[in-house]
């Protein structure tokens, strides 16, 4: 089976043996390819004495720590072949990841995303409500992650309507008009988890406003950090939104700019699912040995999409737990898991700070 044929398969249809065989072949190929084309990646493999190894298990590859993409430009294509450069949001840290896409990678990522989204939204483009402000697309400074996310997902909807005005207030006129026009139809709502909670749900609740989105499917992403700080977990998020808007169908997804396309979407059972293009491994955060299913650890993500940068095997700084493989109640194949949140930050140590005077120090 070649890659083209593999991409024809539905994203949650393969059992582990077939998937493993194909991923292993591709990841071996990608490791060799990136090593030949990206000097920095080659240097790392050589330093660990891991050059020219053919692996038999997907867990044997050396994962690159995802933070490396913030500190270094890692690229396995020529400069002139780069058609798009993605950057991470960089809200929590100053430095942003830079991810270089060539035509092949960009196309593959789009294909993978289409396959995944279609399995949740259907093949028809649905009327789409975006829980954000349209100005996010105009403001180049804010553009990076949120804008790119919205643009990426916009491909799966039509009649794109923005629910928030320039002041991040809910635009009730527009929403009611949108609901009226699309009465009886399935609606696609997209937004970032925190934006939805802060600027949509909380405001609706404050104003004691209820909306009827019982026909809608909501897909959201963007991390739980700020919500966990407010003691809002996934169940609270879902039940609160349901109460205010009647939405039954809510799907979070886990993904990162370093592996765009092969995202992990939450199923009806509340589990995140690995599509056939990607996989997940959970390791003990101290020893880096593989954890058994059910044991929480640090998440490693694997994807066969990254062809123009060595981001095919990445060690994240997220904690999660694999719940099972091929046997989720929702019927989808592949590993399914939950994400707990970020690894707690390391203590600041040493005598070399009366405290590191950063911009915060200069008042």
């Amino acid at each position: 089976m070649n890659l083209e044929e593999y991409l024809q398969i539905l994203p949650y249809e393969l059992c582990k043996e077939e998937k493993h065989e194909f991923l292993l072949k591709e990841l071996n190929y990608l490791t060799t390819k990136h090593s030949a084309k990206c000097t920095k990646y080659k240097d790392i493999l050589e330093a660990y004495n891991l050059s020219d190894i053919k692996y038999k298990e997907i867990s044997e590859f050396l994962p690159l720590p995802v933070r490396l993409f913030k500190n270094y430009e890692l690229k396995s294509c020529k400069n002139e072949e780069v058609i798009k450069t993605l950057t991470s949001s960089g809200t929590t840290s100053q430095q942003v990841s830079k991810i270089f896409l060539d035509k092949e990678t960009s196309t593959l990522q789009t294909k993978a995303l289409v396959k995944i989204m279609q399995s949740f939204l259907g093949k028809q483009r649905l009327p789409m409500l975006i829980i954000d402000t349209k100005s996010i697309l105009k403001n180049r400074k804010m553009f990076s992650a949120r804008g790119a996310g919205i643009l990426g997902l916009s491909n799966f909807g039509r009649k794109h309507t923005y629910a928030l005005d320039d002041n991040m207030e809910i635009d009730f006129d527009i929403i009611e008009k949108f609901l009226e026009e699309n009465k009886g139809q399935k609606i696609f709502i997209f937004g970032f988890t925190f934006m939805i909670w802060q600027y949509f749900y909380t405001k609706l609740k404050e104003k004691k406003k209820k909306l009827d989105f019982s026909n809608a499917i909501l897909i959201h992403s963007g991390g739980w950090k700020k919500l966990i700080d407010q003691a809002v977990d996934n169940n609270t998020f879902k039940s609160s939104l349901k109460e205010q808007t009647g939405i039954n169908n809510i799907h979070d997804f886990y993904g990162m700019v370093e592996q765009v396309g092969s995202i992990f979407v939450e199923c009806e059972e509340g589990h995140l699912h690995a599509p056939i293009f990607a996989d997940i491994i959970v390791r003990d955060p101290m020893t880096m040995k593989i954890n058994k299913f059910g044991v929480e650890g640090i998440i490693e993500v694997l994807s066969i999409m990254p062809r123009s940068y060595p981001g095919h095997i990445l060690l994240t700084e997220d904690l999660g737990t694999i719940l099972g493989e091929d046997d989720c109640q929702c019927g989808r194949k592949g590993k399914y898991f939950k994400v707990k949140g970020r690894l707690p930050k390391a203590e600041i140590r040493g005598c070399s700070d009366t405290h590191a005077f950063d911009s915060k120090g200069k008042k």
Binding site: P65, Y72, A356
Partner: protein, 404 residues
């Protein structure tokens, strides 16, 4: 703005803070007695028994040791008139919690008044330490010292630093390059002087031939562990590189022996302050080092506490990539002398094994290196000394009155 004047207790804002600028006689009885009373109070408190670095501090403050310091001071000041400079403002580091006491007491012993800036980050050891010191200070016996010390906790407010700097005759900045650079933009009085401690890098040098013959290797391993693992390996004096001196074969054999032993010891210790985030940091550091230089990384699958990165030249050391918590650069050389010409102002402590003091002195004199502040046997890297980063602190806190 967070400002907490911990000592004196009855003062709540800086404008009411009055610090005596007349100095006391160096090593006068009242000063020695105060320091040794604090030492006794610490040694009596069961809490501190679990904190070896605080016990080390208490031992340093014992009367017998202060007497030794006194003797040293008298020798140094023979035929000279040395007096305290007045008010010394110490800016303590936030994470090595004992430094501020050493810095303060050395200055106190030569008769100065002292202002201490301590981070506003709560830290139980520091708080308890200050509590003990305050309780001794409250004794009537020490009334004379009451308006000679202020302990102030605050964040990074430049206006506070400015006010305190303007009161001081000496300002001491306990490090970090960025901190030093920033604090230096805040002026001190024209008559004042300043001591500053930059970021430094420290390492061990081991004679491979000698270590193969060592009878009490376990003792050396324990000392090395303390030198490198305490303070998360991030103190200026923490050992962060091991240099092996010997032939290629001997170096390899010595490494095998040494790391095997250290592995076992560290696994038994299970340093609990090393957390998963540190493991990831070390992985990022290793990869970054591999990108920056042609290094070799040795992995020990069973021991997450020790990471080894072999380099080919001391110039390949990049202190900024080093994240501590058990990460070691390693370098092999034929002769000790090969190393010295590459040392810079960044290098602080050289912890040695298998060389004699005379040998080391000769090597230093014959090669006149640009850097290196301390050369100590392995096991003493973190010991505080009144000679620090090339300064004699007693001397730096004094002014000499020339009488002809």
């Amino acid at each position: 703005m967070s400002l907490n004047i911990v000592t004196p207790k009855n003062v709540n804002n800086l404008d009411d803070l009055k610090i005596e600028n007349s100095v006391l006689v160096p090593f006068s009885n009242i000063l020695i007695s105060f320091v040794s009373d604090v030492s006794k109070a610490i040694l009596k408190d069961p809490f501190f028994k679990e904190h070896p670095e605080l016990m080390a501090l208490a031992f340093w403050m014992r009367k017998s040791h202060i007497k030794q310091l006194h003797k040293y001071f008298v020798e140094q000041s023979e035929n000279k008139v040395l007096l305290g400079r007045g008010i010394v403002f110490h800016m303590a580091p936030s994470n090595v919690d004992t430094i501020f006491v050493y810095s303060w007491f050395i200055s106190l012993l030569v008769g100065n008044s002292n202002i201490l800036r301590i981070s506003d980050k709560e830290n139980i050891q520091t708080s308890l330490l200050i509590g003990i010191i305050n309780s001794v200070l409250e004794l009537e016996l020490y009334n004379i010292l009451k308006n000679r010390v202020a302990i102030i906790r605050y964040g990074h407010e430049d206006d506070i630093t400015l006010k305190l700097s303007q009161m001081a005759d000496v300002r001491v900045i306990w490090g970090g390059d960025r901190t030093v650079e920033h604090i230096r933009t805040i002026p001190i009085k024209p008559t004042a002087t300043e001591l500053s401690f930059a970021d430094k890098f420290s390492f061990a040098v081991i004679n491979s031939k000698e270590i193969m013959e060592e009878k009490n290797l376990q003792d050396l391993i324990e000392k090395f562990y303390n030198d490198s693992f305490w303070f998360g390996q991030m103190a200026c004096s923490s050992v962060r590189m091991v240099v092996w001196v010997g032939t290629k074969e001997l170096n390899l054999e010595a490494q095998q022996l040494f790391w095997d032993k250290l592995n076992q010891y560290v696994l038994n210790q299970q340093p609990e302050e090393i957390a998963p985030a540190d493991i990831v940091n070390k992985l990022v550091a290793e990869c970054s080092m591999a990108i920056e230089n042609h290094v070799t990384i040795s992995k020990n699958e069973n021991n997450p506490f020790i990471n080894r990165v072999k380099i080919n030249n001391i110039k390949e050391v990049n202190e900024n990539l080093h994240c501590g918590t058990g990460l070691f650069y390693e370098l092999e050389i034929d002769k000790f002398k090969d190393l010295l010409s590459s040392l810079t102002k960044k290098h602080q402590t050289l912890a040695y094994y298998g060389f004699s003091k005379e040998e080391l002195k000769n090597i230093i004199y014959s090669s006149m290196p640009n850097g290196i502040d301390r050369i100590v046997p392995i096991g003493q890297s973190l010991d505080f000394s009144y000679i620090w980063d090339g300064y004699d602190l007693f001397r730096s806190f004094c002014r000499e009155v020339e009488v002809l």
